[in-house]
Subunit: 177 residues, 2 copies
């Protein structure tokens, strides 16, 4: 079972080491982790003329399409929500009809994080109040796809290092098949 | 041509009035705007047992799948990036292979907005530096889909009211067909 490793983990100080750590956990479950940092082969010839950003985007789409499931790090990133690149990839995989799991090391609900972010005066716009971990499209897709959302109450210093919730997603995917 | 109206516009103080305004502009181009606030009919019977958030998520996915193109309001929302629900929907439509356009009323590049958000000390993680309007998956998908990203330099007070960039997306989609 090939698992696409979605997440802002690629922005961590040692992204290759992080990808290797995620792949090692996949291997423990008999799964193959596919990182956005992996080279997609064979690369379609038309990618050669693209600039770097466009080529990375096409490569990540191809990686996702090559996988059986997607596991996304949804720990909030630079704001109350998850990284948008990660959420794009969830939408992409959801439309392909394959299972998506999400994990987060932040225990607070989306509505509470949003209120904390905006402060008492708010921004004059509605705050989603469904008791979910993030925007409803994310958890809606995860649930409808047959996946699961795993949230761990991690201390702040461990938010980008603790991989227990990630491993729990793999365990759930393994039980599913 | 049916256009899915993706965006955090549903969180504005008068979301129905906003949807009507967007649909009126679609009609000027001979297009039909489909809002996340519209009721999807006929609703599959299995939605009846879902809670509200899950039902909205399924309905939005069904609306997107019923449309020929998607136009997304990518004006930054509660952080340096666009609304994650909107970006999920772009990923979903991109996997369906149909055109996606994005518009934003914020002129700054993603990297500059991120630096402003994080402050001089940063967060110890990489900042994407590709000169794009947001995360590369978004503009990568828009470009690969045959759509376009339209950015307007709006004054702050008009950021959630000015619809010129939205109309420009429709004009581009109209020329495309």
């Amino acid at each position: 079972m090939r698992i696409y490793l979605a997440g802002p983990d690629v922005f961590l100080p040692d992204p290759i080491g992080r990808a290797e750590a995620l792949k090692a956990i996949c291997a423990r479950f008999g799964m193959v982790g596919v990182s956005p940092l992996d080279v997609f082969e064979p690369a379609p010839v038309e990618w050669a003329t693209l600039d770097e950003a466009m080529r990375i985007a096409r490569q990540n789409e191809a990686h996702i399409a090559s996988c059986d499931a997607l596991v996304a790090n949804l720990t909030p990133f630079r704001g109350p929500s998850a990284d948008v690149g990660t959420v794009f990839e969830i939408g992409f995989m959801r439309a392909l009809g394959r299972p998506v799991c999400g994990w987060s090391n932040h225990p607070a609900k989306f509505a509470d994080r949003t209120r904390e972010f905006l402060g008492p005066s708010g921004d004059g716009m509605l705050i989603e109040e469904f008791g979910l971990a993030d925007n409803l499209m994310i958890e809606g897709a995860i649930t409808a796809s047959g996946g699961a959302m795993v949230v761990k109450d991690c201390p702040h210093h461990a938010r980008w290092s603790d991989l227990e919730a990630f491993a729990n997603c793999l365990a759930l995917l393994g039980q599913r098949t």
